[in-house]
Symmetry: D2
Subunit: 485 residues, 4 copies
């Protein structure tokens, strides 16, 4: 089967039931609406690349089930190389869109995680979850789906578990188990790429105890399923995307993040891969974060690559030479490669699960999360430093002003600096703003969970007492030294 | 004379000729237009404070000329204590508005700098600049003026001097010297608080050589002077300020930065304080940056104070205790106090100019600029880290959605977390966004010049050969060790 | 009275009873013994400078009591300028000796702190401590004394108070109050410059409660008082100081830190300034650390100045140009000036005590301690980076090898690189080693207390709830948001 | 063949000709002399481990030539897993000795690098270098050799090439090519583990041009070869190793670094693997640094592991609980794992050479070098911070004092704090000192080359123009933006 084309992908999106809102209004067609078409464009470029001989190798893969050629983001990751290719894919994707591409990311990871967890559950409970999942994966491969993934619940009070919340709907939960499926209800938040997705893979947002078993729930649903309302979050400067002169102010590609409101949605059994097996929710989180926080090195580094390019563009647009800032550019590259290389290291130190799925080393992956929550902020800071005042917040007029018949020409004179047009410098400045403080900035901090959570994993994966013993033996300290009281 | 009231201040602004544009449209009344009324509000609060017994001491001062009570931002700074009070004033102002307050800042500094430089020029050239300036200051004191200050020119190609530019108008310059005044032309950019200012103090943006003498120019003009067009720059998320539900999305106070286009503007002699004395432009820059980069510790720290408050608010709104994040909060406070204390140190190590003006120590002040271009970014990062995903970019719907009749109630349920209403958590999250990545973020990086410029000053104020001699003497190395070739 | 000369100072030291040990052996004459003569030399240079017209202004002061000219380190600090001069003095001293100079530092600070605390105690208890202190100060001024200061006790178990310790002697305490004086017992540790001191000023090492009143004790004793044994601590590479070729391996100046063992030492009343007034021990610590942690910016910066010089020396000795490393050198200078400027800022933001003593602002001073515990380590790292492998640990033979008749000439050939002799490069490399990892490194980390203690002060001096209120008001959040539970 | 035992290893060392000097004196027996026996002990523990079922898997490998079991450090590294095992080996080794182990490190890497380069040279020049190398490797495997590796030359003036130096001997060079071998002359510096090595693998220290062909030279020589004089460098505090109470002051394991002086040494052809092929010297450096700077993550992390252990020991010895410092301990662990994971990532992103040798990705490996030159310094700083003043420089007496009959008991009382003996606290404090500022600190900074060299590699491996193109395309900037002039 040939790989699905951009046209087919767009047609599939157009055919869906409108259920996405932003600014209080329903979006009829996500492929053309200014608030969603940029994230759709980002994803469409994946389909372009899969059909492009130059990129085909990275954007497609071989099905472990059929041996056929499939889209990479529909594939199983069963070796360290498979997971490292995920990183390369994310990095390259970011370089080509300037942002991350949600519906070829989390859903893919969730599918691979559930492949392992369903096997464990099936072994203990005699369920047939893995068979259901396999059937769905085969369909996804064949249809060449884009699939968002949703973990984070609204959560409510952070010091209480789901069943202790005043309102049960702040976490997605099973409200009814029927013979043919389940009814689910509640909210998932900050879900990336939903507007460009055909389906959404839902997995638990945290490890739960027995008391919270109704919240132990994994399944996959069409994005336009009945009962689901999607509300797109707003981003800094996102209203620029609907301006007349938007092409001067923002790129053609983009990203969105949504809140998903499930109002008693029925999911048939063949799409359900976990239902009340609370004990296995920690496994989902453990496997998911290991690979996610390793591979996040890919997108974060792609973001950094584009910032290096944007910074050089601005230096030149200002009439300077890039080498003036070489020390800072090398700092940026070092910061980038730390997150990429550390992600690759987490994968290289990882291991295969009996199911075939491959998972990165948690200690290293969570260490990478800590880096990802710090280093890119320095890269952004440097992008602003190199670019000059004009890329910093609030220092350049809108293009509506720049093209004003009366004073626009004067503004254009002011914008002219290096060996390029005023318009190119305008765009270059907007790009740096967009990358560092505008609508193009995805969340490095809490995306995939908080850095403090990662530090906890680091803490519990650091064998501190073993290190104490090494220290004692090296110095020849025979007695135990106990904790103070 | 009683201190001018908020009402008088607003009336003065209303009475001015409309010459400010944003988004291609003329703003008729800056005090009510959604794009400018927030910065006006920030400044109005200064007038409130000057009349408030609690704040009066900080917001007013005693005229060195008349002995009368005047607004602090109209006063001469002639001792280290005067300059340190400037820092306290800026810090307090930021705490009360959440942003910086441009028309009680740069103009004030420029006036004090020109007090010193006019004395030096008068001494060499026999001019009467200082007398003119004194006359203007007496008027400003009496009228209780707000005065923006404008240094930065559009500059054009950064590797060329003003007279080498393809277009002379990319730097403000004298086009004609008449008997009764001068005609000026060109652009000043990124000028803060103009919309709230009654006058604008213009000083050179760089040190110039003789060939660029036309660009050596200092004067003060009414904000609505004939021939001046002002274009307000856009900021991330500034369109939120004009939304129906703006009160939920952004604070009532704010900031703006403008581009000033001078199209053959006539300035009468009594308002001109430098005209073609290129040799003294470096003095202007030197004195200006010394005090500016010392005092910037005030506003940057005020910003940090508010971020500490905002972070604690969010922790609580999420249902957590602030002490969970104490380590991060202390890091934030340490970073804050470095910039404040270092600013105070620069002032303490400064010295009085023969004219009476007091200037901070350049080495320390420019060291502070380097800190200001780095530490607040870490404070912002921590604000986002403590606040959780909801304060990060693009993770919360608009209030238009939250108040939507159909799905709004579900969103509100999702927003409820800690011991407060959904609306309060919404606002708290928006505040952290506004402070870190939204319309409220002033430029720490290039405001007052670039950190690389500051590093140059550090370099030339570090007596490296003297340090080499200390090292040689300590180790008893008798011979000189020469540079490699 | 003329200022005391180096010769008089050395004679005074020679006349003292030997009571200092190192490596298990008694040191008969501190002025000539290789283990102590370097710290004596450092102090002797202070006497030189006081008599040197070039430095006199910094190294002497005017007695507030007699109006006479005295050594600066015997003077009262009663204005911000006095305390800032302390910083300049420390910085300059470090530049001329390559290390810190203990007996013109802590004792001086302790004397000024006790001036304030004795006034408070006298007011409450009707004691005459301040009069006693004044008498002693007048004598110190006249004799031109060097006075070490001792705070830190051995402490014992860190989770217990002094009276709860298994052995009372791990903290200095009063064992008997006689009519004519007190008997004291216990240990003070890590006391800098004792070998070069004529007297030692003892103050409490912590704030104590009533149960620990015996440990509330301040007095001053001759360094060679009966019952006191002093044991000098060892330093990395300190044995080099006693080698035959020591002049090639280490500088002529130096530093020492000692443990003081008080074995029932009688102190007459006129030398006692606190005896069991536990309530005032916190005041001592509060005042002491405020000034100490502000002024520590002086010595730490002097250390950095010398490291800049040493790094340039090495670059040149390697055959390179200093400008190759300009970016790193500017980083070093920025780090230096942060600690200096922040110290000056703490002082500028400080205030006068009713007694006349002037104390720095605690929040800023303790912020500086946090900087002092981090920034100099980066300066050291850069010194090693610029110097090349030869200055790093363990990469250069001893001079015994370099001067070996057989293979020494070959080693000298290897040492020759830039435009200087092999011997000069050898010395330059040793200097960088000595400054960063050798016998010349004083403690930036715990000297004057731990950075975690400083963070506690920052925490309690940051008005967090006030900041929360600013945040709430800015965003118009009317309701209180309470802590999570 | 059974793996060589500790006893056989020590016997082999004892049988060698004495040619190592320190402090001007010849060391007769490296296995017992206090200046060398600690590094020998470190290596002996490798032989122990190879024979220990618990560690055998990590310390031995399978010969790719014979299929027999060999010591890991004699093995070929021909897959990413082989190189990652090198990292694990280095980390584990450090944990067991507290330092690095030079003669199972650089020589091993050099041998694998030359395997690839000899193949390239043989292909171009028709030489038989690889066959010679293979013969030697087979012998090394069989004998279970320890082999130091030597790259760094004395270099002389850093701005000149070897042939431009005033003295040719500052770089190792070929002075004569005979029929049966070559005669070499010159100096290699800072060579780790030589005292514990049986042979030394010599490779070029830099990439050379044709004019410097005499310096293009690779061979392996017995450590005690005629004409070679070895001078051990001194380390901070190394004289403690020869004190009577050394067992209290320093560990039993250790490290050394030496200067090698070759005075017309004859090397037979079968031991020569490069002779004047200047063109291939860059390959040697490129391959060597890629693997070395990836694997350095292993030893540096092992060092960090021991510092975590040492810090916890000190916290407890002070009477506190380790959890008091948990935030710092997690910081230490994060820093550790960055260097380890990044090394593993460099290897995972590497590739196989046609010869079979496997080399890490240069961009990532050199990024790791930059991390290695910074992060461990922070870990050391934290070790000192947690440990308290007693572990900082110069704050604890020698054990000669602690065991002094008169005042020793008082010192012991002072040393008692937590739930352990005074002696254990003494040792724990010495360990932290030794690890951070004492004789146990190997060079993270310049070992394996300078971080600035690594930054150059990062610079040239960052495709900056490609990134500019991504930025342009994302923003739709059609025109080229040229460099300023």
């Amino acid at each position: 089967m040939p790989i699905k084309s951009r046209a087919e992908y767009l047609a599939a999106l157009k055919a869906m039931r409108p259920n996405i809102y932003k600014f209080g209004r329903l979006i009829e067609d996500v492929t053309t609406h200014p608030m969603t078409r940029r994230t759709v464009e980002s994803h469409a470029r994946c389909y372009d690349a899969a059909a492009d001989p130059e990129w085909e190798k990275l954007y497609t893969a071989t099905s472990v089930f059929t041996g056929g050629k499939i889209l990479r983001w529909n594939s199983m990751m069963q070796s360290s190389d498979d997971v490292i290719q995920n990183m390369h894919f994310k990095r390259q994707n970011y370089r080509r869109t300037g942002t991350c591409t949600g519906a070829v990311c989390v859903g893919w990871n969730a599918m691979n995680v559930m492949w392992a967890v369903t096997e464990e559950m099936d072994r203990e409970y005699g369920t047939d979850y893995q068979a259901r999942l396999k059937a769905w994966i085969l369909g996804a491969e064949q249809k060449g789906l884009t699939v968002s993934g949703a973990l984070t619940d609204a959560k409510g009070n952070r010091s209480k578990s789901p069943s202790q919340q005043a309102d049960p709907d702040v976490n997605l939960h099973v409200v009814e188990v029927r013979k043919d499926g389940i009814v689910i209800r509640g909210a998932k938040l900050m879900i990336c790429g939903t507007a460009a997705a055909q389906e959404i893979f839902l997995v638990p947002g945290s490890g739960y105890k027995e008391a919270d078993q109704d919240y132990a729930l994994a399944c996959v649903v069409p994005r336009d399923i009945e009962g689901l309302i999607i509300v797109e979050a707003r981003r800094p400067s996102d209203t620029r995307e609907q301006e007349e002169t938007a092409s001067m102010e923002v790129p053609e590609s983009g990203i969105t993040q949504a809140w998903l409101l499930f109002d008693n949605v029925f999911v048939p059994n063949e799409r359900v891969f976990m239902c009340r097996e609370a004990k296995y929710t920690s496994k989902v989180i453990g496997y998911f974060t290991a690979n996610y926080r390793a591979c996040i090195g890919g997108c974060v580094t792609g973001q950094g690559d584009v910032m290096i390019g944007a910074a050089i563009l601005m230096a030149r647009a200002n009439g300077l030479q890039a080498k003036t800032f070489m020390n800072k550019l090398v700092d940026m590259s070092v910061n980038n490669q730390v997150t990429f290389g550390l992600g690759a290291g987490a994968i290289a130190l990882g291991k295969a699960h009996p199911s075939g799925s491959f998972f990165a080393d948690p200690l290293t992956a969570h260490t990478n999360k800590v880096m990802v929550a710090t280093l890119p902020y320095e890269v952004k800071r440097l992008t602003q430093e190199i670019g000059g005042g004009i890329v910093e917040t609030g220092c350049m007029p809108s293009y509506a002003d720049v093209s004003h018949p009366e004073y626009g020409p004067f503004l254009k004179k002011c914008l002219k600096a290096g060996d390029c047009s005023a318009d190119s410098r305008f765009k270059a400045a907007r790009l740096s703003e967009w990358l560092t403080i505008g609508a193009g900035v995805p969340g490095c901090m809490h995306g995939g969970g908080s850095p403090d959570g990662a530090r906890l994993v680091v803490r519990f994966n650091t064998p501190m007492e073993e290190y104490v013993d090494y220290a004692r033996k090296i110095m020849g300290i025979a007695e135990e030294i106990n904790e103070g009281k």
